[in-house]
């Protein structure tokens, strides 16, 4: 069966982290379609197909790799909004962050996050982690197909 690589939505404000993540994804052939958003607002814009993402292709991403610390809307706020929207609830969200703080983990799971991954300092480990994420969420995990007809364009 042809593995269908789906879209990965990456939310990360730090350009270095973006670069490293993309490199890691590329090393594992997962970088086919990665949308990079630089802050919380852009994430929502994309998911709601509004703003600069008005003309994007319909359909939800296979997974959202969400950083916590972002300008404008931070990760938890985005998470809250997405998970409380019935249409976006089913989108898997993986928090990818440097913070190992218990309260962040608790809060995230309370809001319904699907996974919480701490970015290791060690690059090798980082690459491994990304690979696993990508494989799992991007390929192995199945998500429901939503009717794109509900999405309005423009």
């Amino acid at each position: 069966m042809v593995r269908d690589v789906k879209r990965i939505l990456l939310a990360e404000d730090n350009p270095n982290d973006v670069e490293l993540t993309l490199v890691a994804l590329a090393e594992n052939n997962l970088a086919n379609e990665v949308i990079v958003t630089r802050d919380g607002e852009e994430v929502l814009d994309y998911l709601y197909s509004r703003g600069k993402y008005k003309m994007r292709e319909p359909g939800n991403p296979a997974v959202v790799l969400l950083d916590l610390k972002m300008p404008k809307l931070d990760g938890l706020e985005v998470l809250k909004q997405v998970k409380s929207d019935p249409e976006l609830k089913s989108v898997p969200i993986v928090i990818l962050t440097s913070s190992r703080e218990e309260r962040d983990i608790v809060e995230s799971y309370a809001l319904g996050v699907n996974a919480y991954i701490v970015k290791p300092v060690d690059f090798h480990e980082f690459v491994d982690a990304i690979k696993e994420l990508g494989l799992f969420w991007g390929i192995m995990n199945l998500t429901p197909n939503l009717n794109d007809g509900r999405r309005t364009r423009g």
């Binding site: 982290d17 490293l20 610390k69 913070s99 190992r100 703080e101 970015k119 300092v121 060690d122 980082f126």
Partner: protein, 717 residues
């Protein structure tokens, strides 16, 4: 029982005394009675402090009675009688005294005596009357007897005369009838004489006379008989002799006269004696009646003085007592009234004492106890007012209580007072009073209204000091709160600091490592060996810093976190840790020796950290040994603590640096010798100390090390 015997004795003696007075001369019984009385007095214990002198008096009275009787007889029966009478009275009086003393002079007894004395007199009078009646009857009988004798005497005389006449007639006429008459007369004479003799046989003298008369009469008769028998012509001569015979006749007559007059005299003397008796009786009656009246009056007087007056005094005392006033002096005496008076005085003393004790309680409290009327004025204030407010209680009576209240509190106090009067019970009303010297005192009141007394009863406590203390406590609390607040803030700051650190410090490190790797990948071929080494160093440094950050964060968090208090099974933790170290010990030969570890009290997560740190250290520092021996066990430590050790035969350490072992980031080996951040042992010590124990180590270079830590024993039950 004793009293019964004494009563019987008394009665016996009394009866004997009365009998004596009545003239029955029962001296024997009287004596017996006295003896019994005497014996009883000797036998019983003395009933009064002064021994009763009644037996003494009794023994004195008895001989007096005897003497009196004898003396009296010498004088006259009447005098003897009187003396006995007097003695009897005296004796009765003495008996009464004795009785009075013995029975404790009860009021009843006094009353009894009061009644019995006139009663005795009455009995005495009755006895006298009876006696007089007997005497009079006797006198009457004797009188009749005397008359009888007289009649008989006269009849005899008549008969003699008749005999004489008949004889003369016979002698003259020799009429047989005359002789008959003479015989009859002679017979009658004989009879009369016999009768007379019988009548006067009681009296010796009269009997003698009667006998003489009889002789005379017989002689005469004989003479007359002989005269009658001689029937001769000498009769006229005989007849002429008769005047001679007439002499014997005349003698007879004379003797008869004597006899009769003697009898009359006797009769007269008896009548005289009766008259004297009656006189005596009258005298006795009069004397007795007066004595009775006098004695009764005297006794009545004594009784009234002794009883009535004292009852009045008792009544007065009782009234004084009821009014709560001082009573009069104690009553003298030992009867019921004196006893009752004593009881009253005792009650008064008791009540006095009680009231004094209550007053003492009232006056010795430190709180002011007072009563206030419906108009807000002090009615009664206890002594504490002096100490507390500076006023004597007397100064406060009648003053409105609001006077002393500081102006600011007056309205509030007035309102509360009204509420209390309306029925509210107040327990902690506070206000301030101005003391006499002007200073202010803070008071806490509890008060309630009594409808029955129509007064408010209140207690005031000085809380000035208490308030100061409260104020101090409040300030301290404020201080504490500020501190707590600041600490809270600091903690929060620390939290955010930690948060930042954990997030923001890691990212650049990740980048360093990542890009160094990428550089190596992309341009590594161009670099020299050194260059490549430099890149590696850069990466390694970044990673090391990451580890440091993680360790430091963990260390800091562990210090701030709440410690759980549970029962921790170290055996479980040790075996789980050993399993988790399998990856690190792969390929190595390690001999584990795990002993039985006790249960301890503490935070399971933190204690796990301790075990993990120590055991992974052991594993790490035996890394250079081909055969590693690691032992975990418990040692006999102190009585209240358990001691656990982890021993290895690894690289050991120099004891002179042992004090540095547990320092933060302190290491005794270089990073290229053994990896590590130097935080593991610092964490161990910190955790163990937080649990109330400690950590220490022993070791020798090249010979291994033993790390100990102690924890408080698990309290059973």
């Amino acid at each position: 029982m004793q009293r019964r015997i004494s009563a019987i004795c008394m009665l016996v003696v009394l009866a004997a005394a009365l009998a004596v007075i009545a003239g029955w001369h029962l001296r024997v019984e009287f004596l017996v009675g006295i003896m019994i009385y005497y014996v009883w007095q000797m036998a019983s214990p003395p009933l009064t402090v002064i021994p009763s002198r009644t037996p003494l008096f009794a023994t004195v009275a008895a001989p007096f009675l005897f003497t009196g009787h004898s003396v009296g007889l010498a004088l006259s029966p009447v005098t003897a009688h009187s003396l006995e009478f007097i003695a009897g009275i005296v004796f009765i009086v003495l008996l009464a005294i004795g009785f009075y003393r013995i029975t404790g002079s009860k009021v009843a007894v006094k009353g009894l005596i009061l009644i019995s004395v006139p009663l005795v007199f009455v009995l005495m009078f009755v006895a006298l009357v009876v006696q007089m009646k007997t005497e009079t009857e006797r006198a009457q009988r004797l009188s009749i007897h005397a008359k009888n004798v007289s009649a008989q005497g006269n009849s005899l005389l008549r008969d003699v005369t008749e005999a004489e006449t008949s004889l003369q007639w016979f002698l003259m006429t020799r009429n047989p009838k005359a002789h008959n008459d003479f015989d009859n007369a002679a017979q009658r004479i004989q009879g009369s004489v016999e009768t007379l003799k019988t009548l006067v046989r009681r009296n010796k003298e009269q009997s003698a006379r009667a006998d003489r008369l009889a002789v005379d009469a017989m002689q005469e008769l004989a003479t007359m008989e002989s005269m009658a028998q001689s029937e001769s012509a000498a009769a006229p001569a005989q007849a002429a002799k008769l005047p001679v015979e007439r002499q014997s006749m005349a003698d007879l007559r004379a003797h008869l006269d004597d006899f009769l007059s003697a009898e009359e005299k006797l009769d007269a003397s008896r009548q005289e004696s009766l008259r004297v008796s009656w006189q005596h009786f009258n005298w006795l009656l009069a004397a007795g009646a007066s004595a009775d009246v006098l004695l009764t009056l005297a006794l009545l007087f004594l009784f009234s003085r002794g009883i009535t007056r004292r009852i009045k005094r008792l009544e007065d005392n009782a009234q004084l007592f009821a009014a709560g006033q001082e009573m009069g002096e104690r009553m003298e005496g030992s009867d019921e009234l004196a006893h009752l008076d004593g009881v009253f005085h005792h009650m008064a003393a008791s009540l006095d004492n009680l009231s004094r004790q209550q007053q003492a309680v009232m006056d010795n409290t430190l709180d002011v106890i007072c009563s206030i009327d419906s108009k807000g004025r002090f009615v009664k204030v206890n002594q504490a007012a002096l100490k507390l407010w500076g006023y004597q209680p007397s100064e406060l009576v009648g003053r409105p209580c609001l006077d002393l209240v500081v102006p600011d509190d007056r309205e509030r106090t007035r309102k509360t007072a009204e509420d209390i009067i309306a029925g509210l019970e107040v327990r902690d009303f506070q206000n301030s009073y101005t003391r006499k010297d002007g200073s202010i005192v803070c008071l806490m009141w509890s008060a309630s209204w009594s409808e029955k007394e129509h007064l408010m009863f209140a207690v005031a406590r000085d809380i000035t000091e208490h308030k100061e203390k409260e104020e101090r406590i409040r300030l301290l609390n404020e201080d504490l709160q500020r501190h707590a607040h600041r600490l809270e803030q600091t903690n929060q700051e620390l939290e955010s600091f930690t948060y930042s650190v954990s997030h923001d410090l890691r990212a650049p490190l990740r980048h360093i490592d990542g890009f160094a790797e990428l550089l190596d990948k992309s341009s590594g071929s161009v670099l020299s060996d050194n260059g490549r080494r430099y890149l590696k160093t850069i990466s390694e440094s970044a990673r090391q810093m990451g580890r440091l950050i993680d360790d430091l964060l963990a260390f800091s968090r562990m210090g701030r976190k709440e410690m759980l208090d549970g029962c921790v099974d170290l055996n479980e933790i040790v075996s789980e840790t050993r399993d988790s170290l399998v990856t690190e010990t792969e390929g190595r030969s390690i001999h584990w020796k795990i002993g039985q570890l006790p249960l301890v009290k503490g935070d399971p997560v933190m204690l796990r950290q301790v075990v993990v740190n120590l055991m992974s250290n052991a594993v790490k520092y035996t890394g250079k040994k081909t055969d590693a021996d690691i032992e975990v066990g418990s040692a006999n430590g102190q009585p209240d603590k358990v001691v656990i050790f982890v021993k290895d035969n690894g690289v050991g350490f120099d004891m002179k640096y042992s004090h540095k072992l547990f320092g933060v980031f302190q290491r005794l080996h270089r990073p290229d010798e053994f990896k590590g951040t130097g935080i593991g042992l610092a964490s161990v010590r910190r955790i163990v100390r937080r649990h109330g124990g400690d950590a220490w180590a022993e070791g020798a270079l090249g010979e291994g090390a033993t790390f100990y830590f102690s924890l408080p024993k698990e309290q059973k039950g």
